[in-house]
């Protein structure tokens, strides 16, 4: 289906106006920056309502099939919505796991029944999804997952625990990677993948208090929890392949997500904006040459990251180590963020010592983002592990 430029321009105008009018505005409390940080009921309700409103207006899942609740339109419309949402900085779509990972997976690999059962609830936020991949003792080593699933009649009995389950307490379903066998040719062959109903006896998501003193993750315990055998996705022993397909969606390597903003993008321009309105010792912070220099260093570094992205699109300029830029993305982005948050606090003088409260600069957002920034320098392979991977896989250096 081809769409005219004119039609798109008009659509953008329309979306933009709708967002301006329907932006739910300041809730009077500090909102989370992403679904991983939703820590209170009031935050959750606010965000769920907002997602539903966006869906009801027809601005979410626009490219998903109409028969399951999607919009059946070309992807480009959804992209325009996402861009406008980012531009206007409206709150994000909180059912992130459903919209971006579980949903596309079900559409790709699920049965007709699955699609009818799950898709609409993902879009209208009736059914919140969470993810059960990581485990307490081997966070980065997914293939080594130890949560057990034992077939028993029409059920699987699940035992063990998963960690870092965002929205665990609100979720209706979990995408769960569990071990159905300890035999087989490799540890990967013993894994299976489930769409597990969370409201099941023996499934107990326990909120984890984060270093920010907020909640936003759970450790989910499974004690002889019985989930229906037909909640399996793919066949027994194929869990690793399904999980890898999920990660392809998670990492944005393939399309198919429902779209919409999935987190608040905090970047160096926000820091610059903060710097512009900051005073140190009563004087505009940006009059201080040292602060100017640090600000410029961050702007350069952010620009480097953008330009590296642009260069990856030109194969002739990536002949030697074609994966270097892509593989270092998390490392570069997460460390930059951690450091620019430290800088943002340093702009605040004595107020750098505040925390989430009305008196704090921007409500304490910067202190909180700094603390939360460790989730990216630690989660999904720590920065130190990323350095190893870069050294070994990209530069070919010997293993540590």
């Amino acid at each position: 289906m081809s769409v005219s430029e004119q039609e798109l321009d008009q659509f953008r105008v329309e979306v933009s106006a709708w967002l301006r009018e329907n932006n739910p505005g300041d809730p009077g409390f500090l909102l989370p920056e992403s679904f991983m940080e939703v820590g209170t009921d009031e935050q959750f309700e606010y965000l769920r309502d907002w997602q539903r409103k966006v869906y009801d207006a027809g601005y979410l899942g626009m490219s998903w099939p109409e028969e399951y609740g999607g919009g059946g339109k070309p992807q480009v419309f959804q992209d325009i919505v996402s861009q406008e949402m980012a531009r206007q900085r409206v709150p994000f779509m909180t059912n992130t796991i459903g919209l971006n990972w579980a949903g596309p997976l079900i559409l790709q690999q699920g049965t007709e029944e699955d699609k009818k059962k799950y898709i609409k609830g993902i879009l209208n936020a009736d059914d919140i999804w969470c993810q059960g991949f990581s485990e307490p003792d081997h966070g980065s080593d997914l293939g080594n997952a130890q949560v057990k699933a034992v077939k028993d009649g029409d059920d699987y009995i699940i035992n063990g625990s998963k960690i870092w389950t965002s929205l665990g307490s609100y979720a209706k379903y979990m995408i769960l990677l569990a071990r159905t066998s300890n035999e087989g040719p490799s540890k990967y062959a013993g894994l299976s993948f489930f769409l597990a109903p969370m409201k099941t006896e023996g499934i107990d998501p326990q909120p984890i208090k984060k270093l920010t003193s907020e909640y936003g993750f759970c450790q989910t315990f499974f004690n002889d929890a019985r989930i229906p055998a037909n909640s399996i996705m793919g066949r027994e022993g194929e869990g690793w392949q399904v999980a890898m397909a999920t990660l392809m969606f998670e990492r944005g390597n393939v399309g198919g997500q429902a779209g919409g903003l999935s987190m608040m993008d905090i970047n160096v321009n926000d820091v610059l904006e903060l710097a512009r309105r900051s005073k140190r010792n009563g004087k505009p912070a940006l009059e201080d040459p040292l602060i100017r220099d640090q600000m410029v260093q961050f702007l350069i570094e952010a620009k480097s990251n953008v330009l590296m992205g642009a260069r990856t699109k030109i194969p002739a300029l990536n002949t030697e180590r074609p994966t270097a830029i892509a593989m270092s993305g998390k490392l570069r982005g997460s460390e930059l963020k951690r450091r620019f948050c430290q800088f943002a606090m340093s702009l605040q003088g004595a107020n750098g010592g505040r925390f989430i409260s009305p008196e704090a600069v921007d409500g304490g957002k910067w202190q909180r983002i700094y603390f939360n920034s460790f989730s990216a320098t630690i989660g999904g392979g720590t920065t130190q592990v990323q350095y190893n991977i870069m050294g070994e896989r990209v530069l070919g250096l010997p293993k540590s």
Partner: protein, 371 residues
């Protein structure tokens, strides 16, 4: 350049006593539960501190104190910092020192012996703009018929709800001055608890509007330089202690936690930055005891230089240590349950009080380069 460090047998004994007392009375589980209480420290523990004589260390003998220097509190405050013990001690001591330097005889007689005996005193210096320029308050005092009406807002007033006096900096007839507010002069609604990143601390916002004082509550002199210096010294002592415990926390985890079948401390990527945390600590403690030495014996320039260097080195080092402590604890480090956050929060708070490293270096440039 003066590079002296002197540390007497008495100071050494005081350090041992304080280390012992604080580790016994501020185990980490109590540090955590105390963050939930109204006061930073239980009253009986404060009494023990008073009995140990620490509240009188820097009060003259004529007012019932030990007649030592504020710098003699350094070992005590370092020990407290090590155990994340929060207490009104530091600000009571700075207040006493301020009274001693700038107060009238009547003010000294009225309060110094009380402070030595455990009355809590504190100071209201910082304002909502977060400026570190102590001698440039925006809060105002207007004199009319022998009454001074105060206006404006102070913040980060530590332990104010429990203090018997608060020394407040204001602008009076365009001059920065200090006034002594007694508890009775502060209406209840004027104090509001503030949320600060270091949960062991109790900070309050003090709204001055509507509060009046009489001229005899104004301190006859000011001593903003000394207040800042004392604050930098004692805050850095607290930092040094916190830094030391952060290092221990990291080392302990690196020795016991395994990943990929190896103790994580065997990885150079963790080991070498931990050595940097150690080197930062050694630098901070060296600056600390040098500054404490110079505090009483050095020239004004030496005092100024050593204290600003100390605060710069200490702030930067502890913030780095706290940051790495979170990172090196991995997923556990991301939880409230891990003690690393307690230290990082303390580090960030202390870094941003009385000038961070950039601020201090800008001043040092003027003294070290232009002289």
């Amino acid at each position: 350049m003066n590079s002296q460090i002197s540390f007497t047998e008495e100071q050494s004994m005081l350090l041992d006593t304080a280390m012992d007392f604080c580790s016994k009375n501020s185990p980490i589980n109590l540090v955590r539960s105390r963050t939930e209480e109204a006061q930073s420290l239980p009253s009986d523990l404060w009494l023990s501190i008073v009995e140990l004589g620490w509240t009188g260390i820097a009060v003259p003998e004529s007012h019932g104190g030990l007649g030592l220097s504020v710098a003699d509190l350094v070992p005590v405050v370092e020990a407290m910092g090590r155990n994340l013990m929060a207490s009104p001690l530091v600000w009571s001591a700075i207040s006493a020192n301020t009274l001693q330097l700038a107060g009238s005889e009547a003010q000294k007689s009225a309060w110094l012996s009380k402070i030595a005996n455990g009355a809590i005193a504190t100071m209201a210096l910082i304002e909502p703009d977060g400026s570190w320029q102590l001698s440039e308050p925006l809060c105002n005092g207007t004199m009319k018929e022998n009454t001074i009406s105060l206006s404006g807002t102070k913040c980060f007033v530590q332990d104010a709800a429990f203090a018997e006096i608060v020394l407040v900096s204001i602008l009076l007839e365009n001059q920065p001055r200090l006034v002594l507010l007694e508890r009775s002069a502060i209406p209840e609604h004027a104090l509001q608890r503030e949320v600060v990143i270091d949960e062991t601390r109790r900070c309050y916002r003090l709204t001055l509007d509507g509060i009046t004082v009489t001229p005899d509550q104004v301190l006859p002199e000011t001593c903003f330089v000394e207040i800042e210096q004392t604050a930098m010294l004692l805050l850095s002592a607290e930092i040094a202690g916190g830094h030391a415990s952060t290092l221990n926390l990291i080392v302990e985890y690196l020795k016991t936690r395994k990943q990929f079948d190896q103790y994580i401390g065997s990885y150079q990527a963790l080991k070498h930055p931990t050595v940097d945390v150690l080197l930062g600590l050694e630098a901070t403690r060296s600056h600390l005891y040098h500054a404490a030495t110079v505090y009483d014996t050095g020239t004004p320039l030496e005092k100024e230089t050593s204290l600003r260097m100390l605060k710069a080195v200490a702030s930067e080092g502890f913030a780095f240590a706290g940051d790495r402590a979170i990172q090196f604890h991995g997923g556990f480090g991301f939880t409230y349950e891990c003690d690393a956050q307690l230290f990082l929060r303390r580090a960030i708070f202390c870094q941003h009080q009385f000038g961070d490293e950039t601020h201090q270096r800008a001043y040092l440039a003027d003294t070290l380069i232009d002289n």
